[in-house]
Symmetry: C2
Subunit: 254 residues, 2 copies
Amino acid sequence: MEVFAVEGLPEVQPGDDVARLVVEQTDLRDGDVVCIASTVVSKAAGRQADLDDYAPGEQARRIADAIGSVTGERKDPRFAQAVVEESEEILTEAPFVLAVTRFGHITVNAGIDRSNVPDADLLLLPEDPTVSAAQLRADIRERAGVDVAVIVTDTSGRPFRLGQRGVALGWAGIPAARDWRGEHDREGRELSATVQAVVDELAAAANLVTGEGAGGTPVAVVREFAFGDHDDSDALYREEDSDVVREALREWSL
Amino acid sequence: MEVFAVEGLPEVQPGDDVARLVVEQTDLRDGDVVCIASTVVSKAAGRQADLDDYAPGEQARRIADAIGSVTGERKDPRFAQAVVEESEEILTEAPFVLAVTRFGHITVNAGIDRSNVPDADLLLLPEDPTVSAAQLRADIRERAGVDVAVIVTDTSGRPFRLGQRGVALGWAGIPAARDWRGEHDREGRELSATVQAVVDELAAAANLVTGEGAGGTPVAVVREFAFGDHDDSDALYREEDSDVVREALREWSL
């Protein structure tokens, strides 16, 4: 399996044809997994926003105050309002805002980006990254005649472990997970491992070669990844009733 | 960057020289990142155990009962005792046991494996995976004359997202994380992304090519990964006082 960054992509503008930009810079092959940073998808989709677009409501003002009293640095209530508007639920208000996005991803500040945004204060996540992935996949097929998988990626922190790692937000042309249930180990025992979130692992692999900074490139290709002959699953975000940690956070923050 | 599984490894026995087994099956190069499943490290270190080795104490019996009353299927209190003995702290007792291992990793059942264990009921995680990684790295240098990084890996579930993914338990010859703080994006804005847990991303990439089942191989190599010119950090496990989720779980489970 090979993982490489796509070099030479221009800064993406609202309305840009991202699939065309990608296929102009690299020769894709059938079976490639094209990992595209959500920042690029959002920029092309015009998901830039300014702080002045947001009129803070009661919850946003409460969040800004709560973070201020914990950290000593008050958050801009307009930013808090942007997070509230992008979220289906706010799990914690302080010391940081952990939010459930409308498409199910749980992350700090609903994934709103304050860096890497030319000519705007904020960059929101794509509205539905799986829809974006499917569209990009269809566009790549049309532009280059190849059948690839597409993963819309982000970087995100996580409980228990420090640091961020690449995660999948949306995907098309590949299932989210390999399902090993019912398969057996070398000795014939049933495996205790159950479901392997391959799209997250592919996003993590891509993040190793793309980088974040001025030299970073937002698109990487994983070539010759073999999904293999396994059952599959397309679920990646836990439902509320199977998520003990979400339940604990909700009760804790009351 | 290239990622490939090391084929042809024999079933590892207590006392085996894992470094020798690996270098006999593949030509390693300077700079390779060798990702070795913790199962292999544990087997060589004799970390097999039997349920009858464990005399259930009060907490283990309570855990077995609590899981039984939630799931309808009582857990073996001897297994619960093994988890308790391998843990520094139990964060949740039911519906599953989320435990902090002595080396800081937080995972279900303290990572004790009930599959893939010939001639024993259980396989415990290595006592200190970073010590194991350093030893394996030194052994590989001695056996093959190459300077590699070693990551001892496992698969683990996580909050919010379904499925398991590869994670690093211990590492040597590479920092745990790239630290982007103070670096800037294309427009000169300071990056909001902070620390990238590269050893976890490498473990995830490795897990894409190794697999879990009878056809799985427990060792993978990542070749031509470039850490790059960044600050680094060797912290991967959150300290208690910076872990809101751990705090919430502890209070929730009281």
